[in-house]
């Protein structure tokens, strides 16, 4: 079985790709409660990240995913959802 866990490194890459914002994985891991808005990731950026994950994994994430305020919340929700697949 392939691992589908979303790491802070993955998320940093997704943020760069989908929202154009550069953020170091260490920064995400170090202060995962810093809100997306504080990182410069807007609602459209988060929607793009959700869409990219859905396309990659071929699953629909819960609608709460795009409403997450922080990376910590988002990573937990996504990993929970992917674990259930």
């Amino acid at each position: 079985m392939i691992t589908t866990e979303l790491t802070y490194g993955d998320l940093a890459a997704l943020i760069k790709q989908s929202a154009g914002v550069t953020v170091a994985p260490e920064q995400l891991a170090g202060s995962p409660e810093t809100p997306f808005s504080g990182l410069g990731v807007d609602s459209l950026g988060l929607l793009g990240i959700v869409g990219e994950l859905e396309n990659r994994h071929g699953v629909a994430l819960p609608t709460d995913a795009e409403r997450c305020k922080t990376p910590a919340e988002f990573v937990a929700l996504v990993n929970n959802a992917l674990a259930g697949v």
């Binding site: 807007d42 609602s43 459209l44 929607l47």
Partner: protein, 422 residues
């Protein structure tokens, strides 16, 4: 001395039937024109419903040239402008052509045709280095947004200021507003003003899917557009056009024209907040309303009806309710406010003009069109949304408001005969 601006002609191409009469019938009967998409195969999309126009350019007498080489939204505008000019009784050939202008809005212009030809030149998205030999040799007409105003100006002999306005979903309101200013400032005596869009194409539907702005109620399209209702879950795409003949008041009187009403105020502001997001306060829309009232020298209590943007997204309807309450104060609760998007969908840039046309007709018939599908109140949207049934009412001043991507917040004020207090 201020020049006043009269509305002397109306033309509409809207879902549910072309022509002003069919449009008004639909609105006053509270019927909805939303349905499953037929213009292309929408399989795979999240939202597969829309309010489409059953439109045949040849049946409307358009030339083969226009029918073949211009985009659907241009054709809508030519037909709507034709109806408006006929309705106004204006003899365009007898006018000084330098004093006749055109101001037409469109949010997405020729994207439908651009997408159509893109599929050909890219071999269905297979190549970036597209093959120009497969493209329509007149594809520039879809590329240039000014084709809209240009074609209409050519058809009706306008040689004055000719503009295409593209402020997203407030394009229609702003095109009417720019025309109002053009006449008021003395730069033209007549302006053919309105807006048109035909955005029901895969790329536009897909981009609104991506931001979950459109309703996914594919199983019940007739009831999918539910502005202000607590079950609302997004807008339903529409298409169409509305065009008005705006005329300097004395110019219209001198030729004995029927004057429907006046455009008495217009303002637009940016919310400087987010390209798609709206604040909860509605400060900027309220400011637009206040400025429009100020221009017309009217108190907020003079407003008899608010034609809402009412797109049916969660955030829009709350934003707008807050804005109207901020401007109208306690009077907001006594003022009917409805969204015709419940019936004709949201045709992006066109809808502002279609809604202004609805306001003109409301003043003419002294009837407020309803909000179809409104059943379950949202505690945060607590105004009188005129549920489902049109309502006769004494109307003198009516307001049309809109919000657009990019943060645009616009308001147009219309005043019927006897509505002026100055």
């Amino acid at each position: 001395m201020t020049r006043r601006v009269a509305v002397t002609g109306i033309g509409v191409v809207a879902p549910g039937g072309a022509g002003t009469a069919a449009f008004w019938d639909l609105l006053t009967q509270g019927r909805t024109a939303t349905r499953g998409i037929t213009l292309f195969d929408p399989a795979g999309l999240r939202s597969r419903i829309a309010a489409e126009c059953d439109f045949d350019p040849y049946a409307h007498g358009l030339s083969a040239e226009l029918s073949r080489h211009t985009d659907r939204y241009v054709q809508f505008a030519v037909v709507a402008a034709g109806e408006a000019v006929r309705d106004s009784g204006l003899d365009t050939a007898a006018e000084n052509p330098w004093r006749v202008g055109v101001s037409l809005g469109s949010a997405v212009g020729g994207t439908t045709r651009l997408e159509h030809d893109y599929v050909l030149v890219s071999e269905r998205g297979a190549r970036w280095d597209v093959d120009h030999r497969a493209a329509d040799p007149k594809l520039h007409l879809a590329f240039a947004p000014s084709t809209l105003a240009s074609v209409v100006a050519e058809e009706y002999g306008a040689q004055g200021p000719v503009q295409t306005v593209s402020t997203g979903c407030t394009s229609g309101l702003d095109a009417v507003g720019y025309a109002f200013h053009t006449i008021e400032e003395g730069r033209a005596d007549v302006v053919i003003a309105g807006a048109s869009d035909s955005p029901i194409s895969p790329i536009t539907m897909a981009c609104f899917d991506a931001i979950k702005a459109t309703s996914p109620d594919n199983d019940d399209p007739e009831h999918a557009s539910k502005p202000f209702d607590n079950r609302r879950n997004g807008f339903v795409m529409g298409e169409g056009a509305a065009v008005l003949v705006l005329e300097e008041y004395e110019h219209a009187r001198a030729r004995g024209a029927h004057i429907y009403c006046e455009i008495s105020g217009y303002a637009t502001y940016g919310n400087a907040y987010h390209m798609t997001g709206l604040t909860g306060e509605g400060l900027e829309m309220a400011r637009a309303i206040d400025t429009a009232l100020d221009q017309a020298r009217l108190d907020p209590t003079a407003i008899d009806y608010v034609n809402a943007h009412g797109s049916g997204t969660r955030q829009n309807d709350r934003h707008e309710t807050a804005a109207v309450k901020r401007s109208l104060g306690a009077h907001a609760y006594d003022t009917p406010m409805s969204s015709i998007k419940s019936m004709v969908g949201h045709s992006l840039g066109a809808i502002g003009a279609i809604e202004v046309a609805a306001c003109v007709l409301a003043l003419q018939h002294q009837v407020v069109p309803p909000t179809a599908n409104y059943e379950i109140p949202d505690p945060e949207c607590d105004l009188d949304y005129v549920p489902r049934t049109a309502r006769p009412r004494k109307l003198r001043n009516v307001l049309s408001v809109g919000s657009g991507f990019g943060g645009f917040q616009s308001a147009v004020l219309l005043t019927g005969p006897g509505g002026r207090t100055r």
